[in-house]
Each structure stands twice: as C-alpha cells, then as structure tokens.
Amino acid sequence: MRQEIVPIHSFECLTNEILELTFTSDYLASVAKPGQFINIRVDNNFPLLRRPFSIFNIDGNKISIVFNVIGTGTRVLAKKRKGDTIDILGPCGNDFLTFANGEYDTAIFVGGGIGVAPFPFLTKHFPSDKKITTYLGARHKELIVTKGLKNVNISTDDGSDGFHGTVLDLVKDDFKKHDYGKTRFFICGPTRMMKAVAEFANNRNSDCYASLETDMACGIGLCQGCNIETNGGTKKYALVCKEGTIFETRTVKLQ
C-alpha cells in the first residue's frame, strides 16, 4: 500500500450521470486486485476525509474509477480536469479473486447502481474455467454501465432499460429460465439490495460474497470507524476497510 499524488489522465461520461475518471500509477497498476479500493483525497483542504472508490478497470498503468455526483466528495472530484492531480492511498481491503476458486459452475455478478464499479476489473481477471452471468439494477437507465462486462442482464426501477423491477426480481426471473448449475454470487450495491440478493443466494446454498460500503475515515484500519456486526465468531465487529470490504454474507449482519 502506498500514498501517491497521481495525474488525471482522462474523464469520460459513460452515461449522462456516470463519470469514469482515469489516472496513472505504475505501482497501483502492478499490485491492485479486483474488488480492492483506493481511498482518494479529492482536494487539499475540503472535504477533509478521503473517499473510497472501487477500482473499475486497470489497463497498462491506467487505473479508472466510476462515480456519480451524490455528495461533497464526488462534486469536488467531478470538477477536476485532465492534468490535475489527486492524492490516492491504496490498494486497500481484500479482493474478490481470493474467493473465486472452488467447486461451482457459474459466477453470478450482481451490481446495484454505482455498485457495478468492481465488476469490469473482476470480469477481466476471473478464472477462465467459470462462466459469468451479470445482473445490473438501477433506478433508471442513466445509472446503467455495461462497459467491460459479460452476459449482462439489466433491470431498472422505472423500466427505462431492460427488466422493469428490482434486480432481485430480474435474477429470480432469469434463474427460472436458465440452469446455471452450481453458482457463487459476487455482489455490490446498496445494503438493502445486497441483503435481499444474499438471502436468495444463501437460500439456494450458494456462497455470496458482498463488497460492503460504510462511512470510512482512514480506509486502513486506524480509525476503527467502519465496523460491521458479525454473525458470531470470535469478534462482535469486523472492520469493513481492512477485514473487508468483501465478506461472505452469512458471516456479517447486513443492515
């Protein structure tokens, strides 16, 4: 893990609401794994704390993240331009590939809204002996990003793209039509969505690995602010930044 000041290489609008920001770092590109995140200080003084972002893609020494403007941090970040620098700390957290090997046929990726972020990088590096089916759900079509994904199924709350309904309803509907064999779920999105999808996955005896998001100050285990309650075990709480962000959903209480 390193702290680096890196130049912004490019900005691209993937939809009317989602931006892809690409920067360069030889170090990060050489060590980061799918599912890990970087903690970004978007500007020198304001806001004070770093903001965590999943790694969306790595191509050569170019690393990209995606975001939509939802708060102070993303608003400041959206005003950056090519050539500006950002202060990054990473890679942080565990990664999805740790959980990718095992006895199953199909990896089921489920992304809710901007929770699509880790999946293109994961798709690129996923073990080639597994099939991948991807489900994306969002409020509307401007929040759907399919870049870098495989076998994508889409749902929107307003019906503006794909299946009209929740991503879980889409998954249920699609599972009736196809036999995916033994599955393992990899999910990221709003907690309520992840809780519902995890329940579905665990009920059909699939392991389900969820990348969680909480408010974080440091992203590296110093502040102990990002705790999540565990389901038994030796400790009452785990730290999302350091022991996660990826947890098997039976081991933590998604609330």
Partner: protein, 313 residues
C-alpha cells in the same frame, strides 16, 4: 539544532507524537510511515478486558472535522502485552500507553501490568471515560476524581504520567492544576469536544450513540485557547492536541505554550503527517536561526497581561 524533549526520565527525539486512537499500535502503517522518525506513539486506549466498542455508524464527517464514537474498542491489556509490545519495540520510538478504565481500580491495575515492561516508556491517562460506579458520568469532568486518579497512579509509576484532559468543562486549567499538584508530569490538552450531527431525512443522529467526539481542524482554535489557558495555570508541560494538520499548526501550539504536540485526525487523511510536521518544525527553526525548538514555546506576544481564569469568567 535541538529537536528533542525530555519528560521526566524519557527523551523524545522530537516534539511530535501521534495521538491515541489515530495510529493503532503502529503496525497498520509500518509500510507507509517511517515510524522511527516520530517523537513517539500514544497507543489506542487500553482497558483491562478487551472491548468490542460501539455499534455502527461510529463516525461521520462534519465541517472541517469528524465526529467519532468508537467506544474504546481495544484488544485489552493482556493481548497488548503479548502481541503488540514486541512489534512496537522494533520501531525505535517512544511508546506511551494510553489507559482507559471504568473505575479507579481498573486504571491502577492496567498501569501496574504495564509499569514493569521496558517496551512502555510512559502513560497517558484517558479520563474522558464513563465512571461506572457514578452512573456513567465522565471522570474527566469531576476535578476531585481526576485528582484521585492522578494521585493513585503517581504512587504506582516511576515513568512519565500524563493526564489527557477533556475540554468539556468550564475551566480546563482547574483540572490541570489538580493534576500538577497530585504529581502528574504533563497534561494533554485537549481530548475531543462533545458534538452531534443529524440526518434530516431520517431525523436520526448520524452516529449510533447520538453524540460523539468532535476532532479535526474544526477544533484547532478551541484547542489553542485551552492550551494557552492551561499553560498560564501550571508549570508542568502541556501537550497540545487538536486539529493539527501541518507544521504551521504545530508551531502555533508551541507559541501559545505547548511543549509537545500530538497529531490526531490528520493521521486518517495522511498517516505520515507526524513526520512532515516534525520536518517542517525543524526547517522553520533553521530558517529563523532558532537552535532549539524549545525556545519557541510560550513566546506569544500579547499587548496586555491577562489573568487567564479571569478572562474566562
């Protein structure tokens, strides 16, 4: 160029420490930070038994700061001794064990367990903890209790004893005075201020415990005033804490009377802040032909002499 500072029998290589609860036990950041360049590490608060800490959410960002309510989550003193001290010893810096407790007896027991260990160079006492016997009111807001804690711990240690004071009182200097008279070697000023933040859509507090401790640049002016007040009331060294992010911030604290400083919340943003602050202080002194950082301390130029207590009444 003298950067070091001696407190009782312990020599700190410089006057910049990292504050309790903002640097773990040093092991999380050893690949990011050259810990040996810090004046010292104040450990996370240690209690007799391990503590899980508070439910989430535990933190929230506020204007130029953050609120936290971690709930003194820690591994307990026994595990600290077996697992962390051997690692900390390798860092070539001073280790100050911060102690939190829910009774005076617990403060004493934890300190007695750590006192014989050469890997612990001194103690900082977190008195901003609920006193279980007195219905959970903080020890730190009762001047008599702070005096008793200081007295009991002083009898039990030959090492530097630092009391970390809460600003959530009317006159912090009264507390510093009682610490001094009961034998403390220094006081740390200040711990976090009680604060609150509300989610207006859910109409719920943004942290699980409703109120929490405010830290970060937002509290620096308050911390400076509290250090200034304390410095004018006691002769023992004052360790300045509160929103320090840069060497300029640290120099401000020295000028108003802090003998050392601690970096807290800034570690969450830049874990190497302590080192850049220490280097900046050194360069400031060299540039201004100051041969000892100590010569800046308490050099505030004011037009009039004021009685600190009077000015706050």
């Amino acid at each position: 160029m003298i950067e070091s500072f001696k407190l009782k029998n312990v020599e700190f290589k410089n006057r910049v420490l990292v504050a309790s609860g903002t640097f773990g036990y040093g092991d999380e950041v050893s690949d990011l930070v050259d810990i040996g360049k810090l004046g010292g590490i104040v450990t996370k608060s240690l209690s007799m038994k391990p503590r899980d800490g508070n439910p989430n959410p535990r933190i929230t960002e506020t204007a130029s700061g953050m609120l936290n309510s971690i709930g003194l989550a820690n591994i307990g003193v026994e595990k600290f001794i077996s697992d962390k001290i051997p690692v900390l010893r390798k860092h070539n810096t001073i280790i100050i064990a911060n102690i939190a407790a829910s009774s005076i007896e617990e403060y004493c027991s934890v300190l007695e367990m750590l006192e014989p260990l050469s890997g612990v160079h001194g103690f900082e006492i977190n008195v901003s903890c609920p006193n279980v016997k007195e219905g959970g009111l903080s020890f730190g807001t009762d001047v008599k209790l702070v005096g008793r804690i200081t007295k009991e711990l002083r009898r039990r240690t030959q090492k530097p004893l630092i009391i970390k004071l809460t600003p959530n009182v009317t006159h912090i200097s009264e507390f510093a005075r009682v610490c001094e008279s009961e034998g403390a070697d220094a006081v740390s000023v200040i711990n976090t201020l009680i604060g609150m933040s509300v989610n207006i859509n859910a109409r719920k507090p943004k942290i699980a415990t409703t109120t929490g401790g405010l830290s970060g640049p937002a509290i620096k002016p308050i911390a400076l005033a509290k250090v200034y007040e304390t410095r004018n009331a006691v002769k023992i060294p004052v360790i300045g804490i509160g929103g320090i992010c840069s060497w300029e911030d640290a120099v401000e604290f020295f000028i108003v009377g802090a003998s050392m400083v601690q970096i807290g919340t800034a570690n969450f943003v830049n874990p190497s802040t302590g080192i850049t602050v220490a280097e900046g202080i050194k360069q400031y002194c060299q540039k201004n032909d100051i041969d000892d950082v100590g010569k800046i301390i308490g050099t505030l130029q004011t037009n009039k002499t004021i009685s600190i207590i009077d000015s706050w009444l």
